[in-house]
Subunit: 149 residues, 2 copies
C-alpha cells in the first residue's frame, strides 16, 4: 500500500492549529517509520526547558502520522484511549520523537479491526534531545476502528 | 500563608508561551482550590473536538497553579515526574479543570519536604465540558523539593 506523503505531512505539521503553533516538523514519514521534531524555541517553560505539554504533543502526534503512512485510512480510523508520559530529565534542546512498526504488526492490527470492527494497540515512544539522551518516554493506548461500524 | 494572586494568574495564563497561545484562563485561584478553562476555539483537532495535547496542558498546569496558591514558593519548588490522561469522550465545548487540596494535605507534604528535602504527591483531575460531563481524567505524580537541597 502506498500513502499520500503530502497529506501525511500536512496532517502532522499544519492540520491541527495547536500543533502548527508549536512548529512541529516531520523529518521522516515512511510506512512503519516516522520521526518528528519540536523546536525548544517557543515551547519552553518558566525555567527554559521544553514545557511538558509540548513534550506530550510531540509524543502524541506520531501515532496519527504513523496511521496515515501505514494503515488504510479509507477503511480505518484511529482513536487514542489513554497516554502516559514519564519525564526523565530536563529537555534543554530541540526534541525528536521516533516511532516504528513492522509490516507484520500493521497487517495484524488491520486484520483484527477488519474482522471485529476494532483493534487495540500500544505505541511506546522515546523523546530524545540532540545529544541522544532520552528526556521522556510515552506509552499510548490506541484503537483502530473500521469506518462505518 | 497568603499568596501573590497576580503572580499566580500571570504564571497560569501568560508565563509559558505554549500555554498562553491556547488561551487558557484561571477562573479560581485560591489556597487549595484552582479552576482553569480552555476554549475549544483555536484548540480543536481535525474532527473539531479539543485536541489531546490541549487537554493534557489543561490538566497539567493546575498543579503549578495550586503550588503557587498553596505552598511556600520561597522554600519549595515542584517537579512533575509522570502524568497519565484517560480520554473518555470527545470534548466538544470549552473544557474546565478543577483541583482541590486540603490544608492538612498541604501541610503534610510541606513537612515531609522540609524534613527530607523532597515529598512525592499525586494529583488527580477531571476535565469537564460545559454540560458537566467528564471528557478526560488525569493522574500526575509530582515531587515537592526544598530549595537549595
Amino acid at each position: 500500500m502506498s500513502f499520500d506523503a503530502k497529506f501525511a505531512r500536512s496532517f502532522t505539521e499544519d492540520k491541527i492549529a495547536f500543533v502548527q503553533r508549536m512548529g512541529l516538523k516531520a523529518e521522516i514519514l515512511e510506512r512503519g517509520h516516522v520521526r518528528l521534531r519540536a523546536p525548544l524555541e517557543g515551547n519552553s517553560n518558566h525555567i527554559g526547558t521544553m514545557y511538558a505539554g509540548a513534550l506530550f504533543t510531540l509524543a502524541e502526534i506520531p501515532g496519527g502520522s504513523l496511521f496515515l503512512t501505514s494503515f488504510d485510512f479509507h477503511q480505518f480510523y484511529p482513536i487514542i484511549k489513554d497516554m502516559k508520559l514519564d519525564f526523565l530529565k530536563p529537555a534543554t534542546t530541540d526534541i525528536s520523537c521516533e516511532l516504528t512498526m513492522t509490516d507484520e504488526e500493521i497487517e495484524r492490527i488491520q486484520a483484527i479491526a477488519n474482522d471485529t470492527g476494532k483493534a487495540e494497540f500500544i505505541l511506546n515512544t522515546e523523546l530524545t534531545d540532540t545529544n541522544g539522551a532520552v528526556v521522556a518516554r510515552s506509552k499510548g493506548t490506541y484503537q483502530l476502528r473500521k469506518t462505518g461500524r
